[in-house]
């Protein structure tokens, strides 16, 4: 069976490659494009470590064929801030101990980024419901929730100051 010619826009850059239709998006990113921010935790659609943003939606890239993503715009943790800098969420996770081993963190932050686009001023309950697809084996979630709420207030304060 023949390979497909795929075009993806990853973190603002056009990428073209040949892939078998059965290749999963997470494998294409990590193994072919060297974008290793999204992690493989369970590989069974449960843990959310492979979460990235595809056409404005948080998706688990271990459950998407690269062929389905043909033509899509993709943002991974690498695309959230300029190299060498950190965005508001990344800083908040550092400040509030939102990570320990860090394995779940790229998925957490990429998901939280989308959540805050949709609900800029979430309640704690909305954060917990909105983050329910991401598992963490270290932190017990308290500090992850705290980090996201802190990032939200910082982003809102910055928005107000700009107005």
């Amino acid at each position: 069976m023949s390979k497909m010619h795929l075009k993806l826009k990853v973190n603002g850059e056009e990428k073209e490659l040949l892939a078998e239709p059965r290749e999963l998006l997470i494998h294409v990113l990590r193994e072919r494009l060297d974008i290793t921010g999204p992690h493989i935790g369970c590989e069974t659609s449960h843990c959310g470590a492979c979460t990235l943003e595809m056409n404005g939606k948080s998706v688990k890239s271990c459950t998407v064929f690269a062929a389905q993503a043909n033509g899509a715009e993709i943002t991974t943790i690498e695309g959230l801030a300029e190299p060498g800098t950190m965005n508001v969420l990344q800083n908040a996770f550092r400040e509030h101990h939102g990570l320990q081993c860090g394995f779940c963190t790229p998925g957490m932050i990429t998901r939280a980024h989308r959540l805050l686009q949709e609900i800029p001023n979430p309640t704690e309950e909305e954060v917990r419901h909105g983050m329910a697809g991401n598992l963490c084996r270290c932190t017990g979630y308290q500090n992850i929730v705290k980090s996201i709420l802190a990032a939200a207030s910082e982003m809102n304060a910055a928005k107000e100051a700009a107005e």
Partner: protein, 284 residues
């Protein structure tokens, strides 16, 4: 966790999708959100030679409320079902259930069409569709036909949808009845140990209509006509609810699996059906 090889197709309209299905027969499968099918393919429990991805078929994404009827296109996602205000108004039951399905990432891609066509008794939407008395529209080589949701499910993963047919949309009557979807699950993102969908209409103090359906308590979704009948004409007092719960349980046929033995499932089902009835009543 890499699936077997397949050929990938992405048709732009229903007609081309149907002709691909017709050409490849039972070697072809429709791919919607993929969040039931891809895990099965990764486990190599589903063998597919031709995958027909219907994401580009715009007409399958439409939904509208026209008069008293709600129409939802097969490719409308659970995320959209939660966030669409006019749907939430015409069928709040759909929103309440969608919020209890899987997790946010899955809901962005999982579609209503995939959920009802999958045929897995653990899926939540088929039970809801029993409760709402929905009708499915199917498109095949010889044109369109409709099938009632209550006649669609034959056994686990066996439905009235033929290999060369696509489920294009779902229709059901808009309703202002009291509603509830109650679901017991082991953890967030899990399928139901037991779930119940209930619609109740009260005329004054008397119940004038009731529809009660259940998820994952048999090899197909269960619509319990007897449970609804036990409430109609009563004032839905404690004894009437107990009679409805007993009638509902009588229509279930759970099997033992990782979610527990039969006795436990019946117990949970009883609790869940009662809660759903009480909550629907409080909103009727």
């Amino acid at each position: 966790m890499i699936p077997a090889m397949f050929e990938y197709h992405r048709p732009a309209d229903v007609k081309s999708a149907v002709s691909l299905l017709q050409e490849h027969g039972d070697e072809a499968r429709v791919l919607a959100g993929g969040h039931s099918l891809i895990p099965m393919m990764k486990l190599r429990m589903a063998a597919v030679e031709h995958l027909v991805d219907i994401q580009d078929i715009e007409e399958l994404r439409e939904s509208k409320v026209s008069g008293d009827t709600v129409h939802i296109g097969a490719m409308v996602t659970q995320h959209e079902l939660i966030n669409n205000a006019s749907l939430a108004k015409a069928a709040p039951l759909i929103r309440e259930a969608s919020l209890q399905i899987a997790d946010p990432q899955v809901r962005y891609v999982g579609t209503i069409g995939g959920n009802v066509a999958n045929g897995d008794p653990a899926n939540d939407m088929p039970g809801l569709m029993q409760c709402l008395d929905a009708t499915y529209a199917l498109s095949g080589p010889s044109g369109e036909r409709t099938v009632k949701a209550r006649e669609f499910y034959e056994s686990a993963f066996m439905t009235a949808c033929e290999d060369d047919e696509i489920l294009t949309s779902i229709a059901f009557p808009a309703t202002t009845a009291g509603f509830a979807y109650e679901k017991q699950k082991r953890k967030i993102g899990d399928y139901a140990t037991a779930a119940a969908a209930v619609l109740i209409t009260m005329g004054g103090k008397t119940c004038t209509a009731a529809s009660i359906a259940m998820t994952n308590l048999s090899d197909t979704p269960v619509w319990s006509e007897a449970a609804g009948a036990a409430l109609v004409g009563t004032n839905c007092g404690d004894a009437d609810i107990a009679a409805a719960v007993a009638a509902a349980l009588n229509d279930t046929d759970p099997t033992e699996d990782s979610r527990g033995p039969v006795e436990f499932k019946r117990h949970v089902a009883g609790v869940i059906v009662r809660r759903a009835i009480e909550r629907a009543l409080s909103r009727a």
